[in-house]
Subunit: 813 residues, 2 copies
C-alpha cells in the first residue's frame, strides 16, 4: 500500500497470512500509452475540473480566485462531498482521453454519486452542461453561475441525479451502480459502461453480489462494463473494508469473482498508470467480445477490473489543526468547514484553490486549448451527451393480447396465460425486452417464457444455458435484478420483474430512488420518456402452499402508493383476461412504476376478453352477474380487490342470496387501485359522481339514506384506508385485508384467519344491510351467528382433513 495513503498516524495493516504467490495474479501492464501532449492535457483537464469542483463547494463570488478570498466570497452553508471528487475527475479525464483516441462508445455510471461537483465540472468543461442547461455556458459567466449555484436553492443539488447530463443513476443510496451498469450494456454490443464503485459502496450487499453479474453477460450480444473500484480508504468517518484489505486479499477476492484485477496506484505517475490500465482493460474486453462474436466464445472469460487507489480528497490541504485532511475521512465532505469565519482556513483555501493554477487552465473562465484537446470532438461521443442516457426509448411491440385471451367460465392460471403471452413478446422484441427474476419463473408458473431456447435463460457460467441469447436473467438477488432492470429501462428498453409478492419489498428503496430519478427527469426539458418499471407480483399470501408466514407480505403496494401520483400505478387484475390486458398495457406505458398483483393458481375466468378490456379501461365496474338485480339500488356494496378476495366476495354474494334473499347486494371489482383516492388526488382517481355511481353516494344528497360498503382487499387495510381518506361518508365503509396472520395452510383458511373469507364478507354485508333494510334487520343477529358458525365448521373441516387447499370447500347446508 503506497505510503501516501497512510495519512493516519497508524501502522500499516499487517500482512494477511495468504501466500505471496497470489500476487502473481495481479495484472501488470507497461505504462507508456500516453504521449507527452496527452499527458499534459490530461493533467490540465484534471486541474481545471478539480478547481471547479472545489470552488463549487465554497465560493459564491470571486469564483476564479482572482483576488484574495473574502468572507463574503464564501457561501453561507458549505455543502458537498469533496473526498471522492479528485478520483472521479481522474476517471473522467481518462475516459475522455480514450474516447478521443478510439471513438469508444461509453457511458459513465458513478457509484459515489455524492461527488456531483466533479462530474458537473467535467460536464461544463466539455460543454455538455450548456447543451441542456443554457445558463451554464462555457464561459466566465456560465462558470460563475455553476460555482455560485451549486448546492444552493435553485442550483444543482449535491448529488448526481436526473438533472445531471449523461447520468442514468440516482446518486445517493449506495450499492446499485454496478448492477445498473450491467443492465445498461445488455443488448448494446458496442457500449462500454465505465462504472466507478467507491470502497464505501463496495461494503453494501447489493454491490458485493453484483460482481457476479458478468456471469449473465453474453459477450456476443451485449456490451461490457469496465468497473473501476475507487479505494480511497475511508467512508464518512471510518476506514473502509477494502481500504484495510491488502493486495493479496483484494486480488484473491476479485479473481474469485471472475476478474483479472489491475491495481492502479502509482501516485507519482497516476496518469500513465491509469491510461495504460484502461487501454489494457479495453483490449481485454475486445478480445473476449471478438472471440464470442466470431463463434468461439471463451469459456468463463476473466473480465478486467481496475482497483484505483488514491488518497481520499487527493490534492486538498494536507492537515488542519494537527489532523490529517487529505487521505483521511476528514476530507469526505468539506475540508475547511470554517473557511468563512476563520482567516487561517480562508488562507488555506486560497492556497489550495490556487494550487490548481486556475488562470492557466481556465484563462478568463474558459478552458484552455490544452484542456479542450482531450475532450471528444464530436458531441455524440461526449459522456454528457450520449443519447443512450436521455433519448433512447425503443417502443416495444406488444402483440394484441385480446387474440390470446382465454374462455370465460373456465379456470385458468393468470400466470400460465401471461407466461405464454410474454413468450410472444420476447419474440417480437428480440433485442429490447428482457425478464429479470430471482429464480422464480417456474415457481411462479411463468415458465412458458423459457420454452424456446431464444427466450430462455442466459447464464454464461452454466454450460446448459450459455450463449443461447435467452431473454431471461435469473439470479437469486432481487437487488441485482432491480439494478439490471433499471439500467436496461433507462437506456431505452423494456423489462419485467416477476417476483414472489413477499420479496419485492427487498428492493423497496431502490424502486423509490429510481422513481425519484424519473420524477426529476420529468422536470427537465430534455429527458425523453422511458419505459415503465414493470413489476409482476405473484405467489401471494393468499395461496402460499409450499411456504408459510415468511412468504406473506403485500407491503410493496404501500411502497408504490407513497410515490408521486404521476408515477404510481397499482393493478390487481381479478382474472387471466384482465391480467393479459394489464400486462399488455404496462409494457407499453411509459415512465410509470407499474405494479401488477395476481394469482398463479387456476382461478375462474369471470370476464370474456372483450369484457376484460372494458373492465380494465374503467378500472372498476359493477359485476352484475354476482349482484342482486344487476346491482340496482343496493343496500350494501361488496368490493373485491385482488383475485382470491374477489372470489370470496362472489362466494359471499351467492351465500347471501340463499340465506338473506331480502338483502340487496352489489358486487364491485376494482382492478386499478388508483381509481379509489379522492377526486384529483391521482390521474386515475374517479370523479366524485363516477365514484358514487359505482359505490353509491353517501345518501345525503340523493335522499336515499346510507348504503354500506365493505372492501375485501388483498393488501394491508391501512393502505386502503389511507387511499380512501377524503372520499365522503367513510363511516359507512368497512375494510378487511391481510392482517399478518398465516402459516402453511389452505387458501380458505388464510381467508378465514385474515377475516377476508366469504363468511366474514357475508357477516359484514348483513351487519351493514341491517342498518338500512328493515327486512334484513329482523334476523340479522341470528344470520350473522349462523354465517360465523359456517366459518367455524369450515375451519374445523380444514384442520381435520387438510383438504386440497383449493377454494372448493364443502358446503354445510
Amino acid at each position: 500500500m503506497p505510503a501516501q495513503l497512510l495519512s493516519q498516524p497508524n501502522p500499516p495493516p499487517d500482512p494477511s497470512h495468504i501466500p505471496d504467490s497470489i500476487l502473481s495474479l495481479r495484472v501488470d501492464v507497461p505504462k507508456n500509452v500516453l504521449s507527452s501532449n496527452e499527458l499534459d492535457s490530461i493533467r490540465r483537464f484534471r486541474r481545471a475540473a478539480d478547481y471547479i469542483a472545489a470552488a463549487m463547494i465554497f465560493l459564491k463570488s470571486n469564483t476564479l480566485v482572482e483576488e484574495p478570498i473574502k468572507p463574503d466570497d464564501i457561501k453561507h452553508r458549505l455543502l458537498g462531498h469533496w473526498g471522492t471528487c479528485p478520483g472521479l475527475v481522474l476517471v473522467y479525464a481518462h475516459l475522455n482521453a480514450i474516447i478521443t483516441r478510439t471513438n469508444l462508445n461509453s457511458l459513465l455510471v458513478v457509484g459515489p454519486g455524492h461527488g456531483a461537483p466533479a462530474i458537473l465540472a467535467c460536464l461544463w468543461l466539455e460543454n455538455s452542461l450548456a447543451t441542456f442547461w443554457p445558463k451554464y455556458t462555457r464561459d466566465r459567466q456560465g462558470l460563475s453561475a455553476l460555482i455560485r449555484g451549486f448546492s444552493v436553492p435553485g442550483g444543482f443539488p449535491s448529488h448526481i441525479n436526473a438533472e445531471t447530463p449523461g447520468s442514468i443513476h440516482e446518486g445517493g443510496e449506495l450499492g446499485y451502480a454496478l448492477s445498473v451498469s450491467f443492465g445498461a450494456v445488455m443488448d448494446k454490443p458496442d457500449l462500454v459502461v465505465c462504472c466507478v464503485v467507491g470502497d464505501g459502496e463496495a461494503e453494501s450487499g447489493p454491490t458485493a453480489t453484483a460482481w457476479h453479474a458478468y456471469k449473465y453477460i453474453d459477450p456476443a450480444e451485449s456490451g461490457a462494463v469496465l468497473p473501476i473500484v475507487h479505494v480511497n480508504g475511508f467512508k464518512i468517518s471510518e476506514r473502509t473494508i477494502y481500504g484495510c484489505m491488502d493486495d493479496k486479499e483484494l486480488t484473491a477476492l476479485f479473481v474469485g469473482y471472475g476478474y483479472q484485477p489491475r491495481f492502479v496506484e502509482e501516485l507519482n505517475d497516476i496518469d500513465q498508470d491509469l491510461a495504460s490500465s484502461m487501454q489494457w482493460a479495453l483490449d481485454e474486453i475486445h478480445k473476449i467480445q471478438k472471440a464470442a462474436r466470431s463463434g468461439n466464445p471463451i469459456v468463463k472469460p476473466r473480465w478486467p477490473v481496475l482497483i484505483l487507489r488514491t488518497p481520499k480528497g487527493w490534492s486538498t490541504i494536507k492537515s488542519l489543526h494537527g489532523e490529517y485532511i487529505e487521505g483521511s475521512f476528514r476530507s469526505h465532505q468539506v475540508p475547511l468547514p470554517e473557511a468563512k469565519n476563520d482567516p487561517e482556513e480562508r488562507k488555506m483555501l486560497q492556497a489550495w484553490l490556487e494550487s490548481y493554477k486556475p488562470s492557466e487552465v481556465l484563462p478568463n473562465g474558459e478552458p484552455s486549448e490544452e484542456v479542450l484537446s482531450i475532450i471528444p470532438k464530436e458531441d455524440k461521443l461526449k459522456l454528457g451527451q450520449k443519447k443512450e442516457a436521455y433519448a433512447a426509448y425503443e417502443p416495444i411491440d406488444v402483440p394484441a393480447w385480446i387474440d390470446h385471451g382465454v374462455k370465460k367460465g373456465t379456470q385458468e392460471s393468470c400466470m400460465k396465460v401471461v407466461g405464454k403471452f410474454l413468450n410472444l413478446v420476447t419474440h417480437s422484441n428480440p433485442t429490447s425486452f428482457r425478464i429479470f427474476s430471482p429464480d422464480e419463473l417456474v415457481s411462479n408458473k411463468l415458465d412458458a417464457v423459457l420454452e424456446d431456447a431464444d427466450s430462455g435463460r442466459n447464464f454464461q457460467w452454466d454450460p446448459a444455458s450459455r450463449a443461447k441469447g435467452g431473454r431471461v436473467i435469473e439470479i437469486l438477488s432481487e437487488h441485482t435484478c432491480q439494478g439490471m432492470l433499471q439500467g436496461y429501462t433507462l437506456t431505452g428498453r423494456t423489462g419485467l420483474f416477476p417476483s414472489y409478492e413477499a420479496f419485492l419489498g427487498i428492493v423497496h428503496t431502490m424502486m423509490v430512488q429510481y422513481s425519484k430519478f424519473v420524477k426529476m427527469a420529468h422536470e427537465t426539458t430534455w429527458r425523453q420518456p422511458v419505459g415503465s418499471l414493470n413489476y409482476l407480483e405473484t405467489s401471494t399470501w393468499a395461496r402460499q402452499e409450499h411456504n408459510g408466514f415468511s412468504h406473506q407480505n403485500p407491503a410493496f403496494i404501500g411502497a408504490v402508493l407513497d410515490l408521486k401520483p404521476s408515477l404510481a400505478r397499482v393493478y390487481l387484475p381479478p382474472d387471466a383476461n384482465c391480467f393479459l390486458s394489464t400486462v399488455a398495457h404496462c409494457l407499453r406505458a411509459k415512465d410509470y412504476v407499474n405494479l401488477m398483483v395476481g394469482s398463479k393458481q387456476p382461478t375462474p375466468v369471470w370476464l370474456s376478453p372483450e369484457e376484460a378490456d372494458r373492465h380494465c379501461i374503467a378500472g372498476a365496474s359493477i359485476w352484475k352477474f354476482a349482484s342482486t338485480d344487476d346491482g340496482l339500488e343496493p343496500d350494501v356494496v361488496l368490493v373485491g380487490i385482488g383475485v382470491e378476495v374477489t372470489f370470496e366476495v362472489i362466494a359471499a354474494a351467492a351465500l347471501l342470496r340463499k340465506l338473506v334473499p331480502q338483502l340487496r347486494v352489489r358486487v364491485v371489482n376494482v382492478t386499478d387501485l388508483m381509481i379509489l383516492g379522492p377526486q384529483g388526488s391521482h390521474p386515475h382517481a374517479l370523479e366524485d359522481t363516477d365514484w358514487d355511481a359505482l359505490f353509491t353516494g353517501d345518501g345525503e344528497s340523493d335522499g336515499k339514506g346510507r348504503r354500506y360498503i365493505h372492501f375485501n382487499y388483498h393488501g394491508y387495510p391501512v393502505e386502503l384506508k389511507g387511499l380512501l381518506f377524503g372520499r365522503q361518508g367513510l363511516e359507512r365503509v368497512t375494510i378487511e385485508g391481510y392482517r399478518e396472520e398465516g402459516t402453511t395452510t389452505t387458501a380458505l383458511d388464510m381467508m378465514l384467519q385474515n377475516h377476508t373469507s366469504r363468511y366474514h364478507v357475508a357477516a359484514a354485508a348483513i351487519r351493514g344491510g341491517a342498518k338500512v333494510n328493515k327486512k334484513v334487520e329482523v334476523d340479522a343477529h341470528e344470520m350473522i351467528s349462523y354465517v360465523m358458525h359456517l366459518a367455524q365448521k369450515d375451519r374445523e373441516y380444514i384442520y381435520a382433513n387438510d383438504p386440497e387447499g383449493t377454494f372448493d370447500v364443502p358446503k354445510f347446508d
Copy 2:
C-alpha cells in the same frame, strides 16, 4: 467437481483460466477423526432423520411404511422442500457428534430455512421437540403425529420459524443467516454458531457482503461462526452461481473474503470427511481465540469455512420419466409429486423410504440405541434446547435519563444529547449492549458514543480500532447491521440501529421477517421475551443539508405501521428531553419494534425533563404555551408530529396570534404515533373520550359544532390517513406531510415545498377557523392570501440569498 453432481446431461463446467497454483490454498486435512462406532452411529442418525424428513412430506398414515403405501396414506397436498434436507441432516448429525465429543457450546443457524423437515426430524430424535411440544413424544405416537402434522393446518409449517426449538432465524426470505449468526456470537466468547448457507442464498447481496463480518469479530471477547456453504448446485429451477464456480474460483473468492476454505465433497466417505473438516475448523477457531485471549492476537486471522458439496436431494430417487431427480433442481421440493395417484411413483416412494431401513433405525417408531449414541446426553448441550435461543434475555441497565436532561428553553441537538446518554448505557452494560450503524454515527451527531475507547468502534481489520472492545459496529451494509442486531437481540442482549431516515427502508423486509418470528414466539408457551429491535432514524428529509432528494424517504414509519399492533411502536419525540425519555423507554422495552425519529440539528427544548416525562407517558398533549387561552375552546387544533413540523406549527400559532387574534388555536404535539388509531386498534390507541379531549369531539354529541383539526406530519400523509380512519368526524381533518418534493435546499424551503411550513399551517387554520368562527370568516380570504404571500416572499428570499438554512428566517412585517 465429483461426477455425482453432474446429474444433468451436461458437460462439466470448463475450467476457468485461473492458474492452478491457487488450488494450493484449499485446506487438506487427514480424514480419520471418527471411530468406527461413531461413524456407524452418524450414518444411522442420518438414515433415521432423512427417513422422517421424507416421510413428513408425503405420509399421513402408515408413517413407518410397515405396509405397502396406499393412496390414502399420502397427504392431499404434498408440500415441503426435500432438496436441502439431506445436507441439513448431515450437518446436524456431525454437530451432534462433535458436541458429544467436546461439549461444544453451539447453536445452528439454517440459511436454507425451507428445510424444516430435516431440522424437525433431528429435533424429534434428540427429544427436544417433545420438551416444548408435548404431543411430539419420542415414541411411535409422537413420530406419527410429527409426520402426519407437517405442513398441514395445525401442524408445523414448512419453514423453520420461532416454533422450531433452537432456532433464532425465520427461515423464508434468504440472505440473512450469516449476519444473524455473527450477531449471536458477539459477547458470547464460548459460543460457536454453525451457520449453513445455501448456494442459492449465497447469491443474495446480504450474504455476499456478510462474509466480511468476521472483520468485526474480536476473538478475545466474542465467539465464532463456523460457516458451512452447502453447494448442492441448484436453486428452485436453475443452477446456482456457486454451483457453476469451480474449485479455483471458490478458493480465490473465500481466500479473498478472509477465510481458509476446506472443500468437503468425498461422497463415498462424506462422514469422515465432514467430521475431520469440522474438527479442523474448530481447532482453527480455538487457535485464533486462544491467541487473542492470551494477549497475542493474530492480525487478520484466517477463519475456517467449509464448502460442502453434496447432490441436491441426495438419497432420493435417481430419475423419473427419464429426467434426473437426485442432483437436480427437480428434487428441490417434492421429488414424486404424483405419488398419491400414480402407482409407479408410489412404488418409487416406497423404495426410497425403505432405503433408509426405518425398522432398523426407528424400531417401533423410536430411535435405536446407535442413533441415540451421538446425540448429546445433557439436554443443555442439545441444539434444540440451548437457552441462548429461547430464554437468554439479560435485562439492560439504563441510567435514569432524567438526570441527564437538558434545560428547557435552550437549543439542543436531540442526537448530541442522546449520544452522551448512549455512552453511559455502553458503560453500564459492557457486554450486553451494542450499536450497529452503517457508518453514520458521526454524521448523525451520535459520536459521543465513540468518545471512550471502550465504547468506540470495533473493526478488527483497521489497526486503529482493532481489539479495543468497542461497542460500535459500523459497516456500510444496512443488511449486515440488521442481521447482527437480530442475532444479538434474539440471544438476549440489547442493540440499537441508528440510521439515516431514508435508508432504513433497505432492511424493510428483514424487519418484517424478524417481527414474524417474534409474533410466532409470542404464540408459543416457552419462548421468553427478548429486547426490542430499536431503530433511531435521524438525518431526516426535513434537514438534508449535504444531501438531497435521494436522502428523503420517511417510508419506514409505514413499514412499522403494517406490523401487528402488539409489536409496532413509532415515536417522533419533539425535543431532546422527549428523545431521551423515549430512548430510555425503548431500550428497556421488550419484544417490540421501536422506531424513533428525530432531528440531529439543534432545535428548541420545549419541555423540561419532568414535562417531557409526562408528555411521553401520555403520548400526546396540549401545548398550552403555544395555544390561545391555554388551548381552551379552540376553533382549530393544530397538531405537530415530528420535530421540524411541530416547530412550524408553533411558528404558525405565533403568526396567527398576530394576524388573526380572534382565531382560537389549540396546539397539540403527538410524540407516540400509536395513540392516534381508533380505540382498540392498538394498545396505545386513545379511548375515544381521551381522543376527543385532546383533539375535540366531532361537535355533534357536545353540541359545540365542528372544530377543525390540521395535522402537520413528518411522514407520508397517506400513513396518517390510514391510521386515523375509523375515528369519528374525519371530514374536519386536513393533513400535510412529506409529499416527495425536495432537493439540496434550506430547511424552511423543504417545509414550503411540502406544504408543511408555518404559512401552510396558518392558512389551513384560517380556512378551518372561518367555518366555525364568524369573526375569522370576515377577512379569512384576505388573510390566507397574505399568509401565502409571506410564504412566497420567504421562498424568494431563500432563493436569492441561500441563508444558513436554520429555521430563523427573516420576518416580513
